[in-house]
Symmetry: C2
Subunit: 262 residues, 2 copies
C-alpha cells in the first residue's frame, strides 16, 4: 500500500521565502516525537513564533528496514523516497529522517532529492572525528543499534579486539540485547527498555570505551539523562542540532535575498 498516493500536493511554490523543515517520521513514531522534542528544546527560541517550522509526515507503514537490508531488498527506500519527495513538493527546504537505519540508503536518498538531506550519519561521524582531534588519539567506540546498523557500520566502530577477549565474548549478547531493547521501545515497553538500556550501558562501561554511540532512534528516545553523559553519542540529538544549524543558514540566506530586493 502506498500511503503517500492518498496525500495530495500541487505544483510550484514561490521561491526566496522561509521553507519549513520536512521530517520523514514513523521509524518509529516515539523516536519521531523525541526528535521533535529535541528540536524544540535545543532551538532555545524565546517564544512560540520563533521556533523552527516543520511538516512531519509520519506514515509508519514502511517495511522493516533491518529485515529488508538483511534480505537485500530496497522496499523501504522506495517508501522513504515517496515521503521525502512529498515533503519536497510541499515546499520544505530540507529533509530530516530521525531513523539511523534508514541512512543505509543515504546516497540514494540524497541523489533523489533536489533539497538537502540533513544526514545524521555525516553529522555524527564529524562529531566523533572532532572528539578524536580534540584530545583522544585512538578513540575507542562501541556502537549500539539495529542489526543492520551494527553489521554495516553506519558509524565508526572500533575493532572489538581492542576491548579484549572478554568483550569479544560479551559483544554477541550485547547485539542481541540492543535489538531486544529497540523492539521493546517499538512495542511500547518504554520503562522496561529504559531500565535495560541503563544496565547495558553500565556493563559496556566496564570495558572503558571512549564513546558509546546510541545508533538507533529508539535508543535516543529512551536515553533521558544518559544522553548528557560525556561518553554517550546521541545521533538524533545531533540531528536536531544539524537542523537548527540548517535553519539558521536558511534564514541568513532569505534575509540576504530579501535585502537584495527580491
Amino acid at each position: 500500500m502506498n500511503s503517500v498516493s492518498k496525500l495530495n500536493l500541487s505544483s510550484a511554490r514561490p521561491l526566496g521565502q522561509r521553507r519549513p523543515l520536512g521530517v520523514v517520521g514513523g521509524m518509529g513514531s516515539l523516536a519521531t516525537a523525541k526528535f521533535l522534542e529535541s528540536l524544540a528544546r535545543k532551538h532555545r527560541a524565546e517564544k512560540d513564533q520563533n521556533h523552527i517550522p516543520f511538516v512531519a509526515l509520519s506514515l509508519p507503514d514502511i517495511c522493516d528496514r533491518s529485515q529488508a537490508i538483511s534480505e537485500g531488498s530496497d522496499a523501504p527506500l522506495r517508501q522513504i523516497l515517496e515521503r521525502a519527495r512529498w515533503l519536497e513538493q510541499a515546499g520544505c527546504g530540507a529533509i530530516a529522517i530521525p531513523c539511523n537505519t534508514a541512512h543505509f540508503w543515504v546516497g540514494e536518498i540524497k541523489q533523489a532529492l533536489s533539497i538537502d538531506l540533513i544526514d545524521v550519519t555525516e553529522i555524527t561521524a564529524k562529531k566523533i572525528l572532532d572528539m578524536r582531534n580534540d584530545d583522544i588519539r585512538d578513540l575507542r567506540s562501541i556502537l549500539l543499534g539495529t542489526s543492520a546498523t551494527m553489521l554495516h557500520s553506519l558509524y565508526p566502530q572500533t575493532d572489538e579486539e581492542c576491548f579484549g577477549e572478554d568483550f569479544v565474548r560479551f559483544s554477541k549478547g550485547l547485539q542481541r540485547e540492543a535489538i531486544q531493547i529497540i523492539a521493546d521501545v517499538k512495542s511500547g515497553k518504554v520503562v522496561k527498555a529504559r531500565a535495560k538500556l541503563g544496565q547495558l550501558i553500565h556493563q559496556i562501561r566496564s570495558f572503558a570505551p571512549d564513546v558509546i554511540i546510541l545508533g538507533c532512534s529508539e535508543l535516543s528516545a529512551i536515553s533521558g539523562d544518559l544522553a548528557d553523559d560525556s561518553d554517550i553519542i546521541d545521533p538524533i540529538s545531533l540531528l536536531a542540532e544539524g537542523c537548527i544549524e540548517w535553519w539558521r543558514k536558511e534564514n541568513e540566506l532569505v534575509t540576504q535575498t530579501l535585502a537584495g530586493g527580491e
Copy 2:
C-alpha cells in the same frame, strides 16, 4: 505572512482508505512534540507499522492566542484555519490541535472543516463529568492555564469561594505563576518551569481540590509523572486518547467499507 500559502496541495484524493491524523502544531512546538509522544506511547502498537499515521503541520508564526483574545482579535483563528484546511486538503481524516487556548474558537474551527476536529475541551469536560458521576457529587476543580483559558473558562471551573477566603487571596498569584511557568516553557526554561509547576501543584493541594486541570499544553509538556496522579487532569493526554479512539473507529469504518466491496 501566510506561511501556508507557501505549501502546496492538489485536488481530490481517493476515498475509502485510511486517512492520517492531521495535527496543527506549533502552539507551542514542545507541546506538539509531547502530544505526539503521548500519541505514540498510549497507542500501544506492537510494531512501527501499526502506529497512527499523521501529518503534523507546525508553522508556529501564529499570533499569540491569549493576547488576541484579550484584544478581541481573531487573527490566530484565521491562521489556525489555514493550517487545518491545508491538512484537510492533504487528505487527513481528522484534525487535532494540541493547544487548549486555540479551542477558544472551537465552534468556528468545527464549522469551517468538513472533517472532525477532535475537541480537547469536549473530551476533557466529559472526563470531568464522568468523574463526578462516578463518586464525587460536587467536584471541586482548579484550572491552570493561559490568562484567556482561565478567564473564559474553557474547562469547568469551581467557584473560588468554595475553597475559602485564603484561596481567593491565593488565586491571583496562582494565575500569575501559571502564566509565568507557561512563558518559561515557551522560552526553553523547562527545568525551572517543571520545578515551579511542582511547587505550585503542592500549594494548590493544600486547598484540597478534587481535580487540578493542566489547561495549557505547555503545562502538559512538563508535567512528567505528575500527570499520573489521580487528581491531575491532563487535557493533552486525553486528546491523544481521543485521537487513538478516532483512529480505531476510522479503521473499523474502512474495514467495513472494504468488506462491502468498495
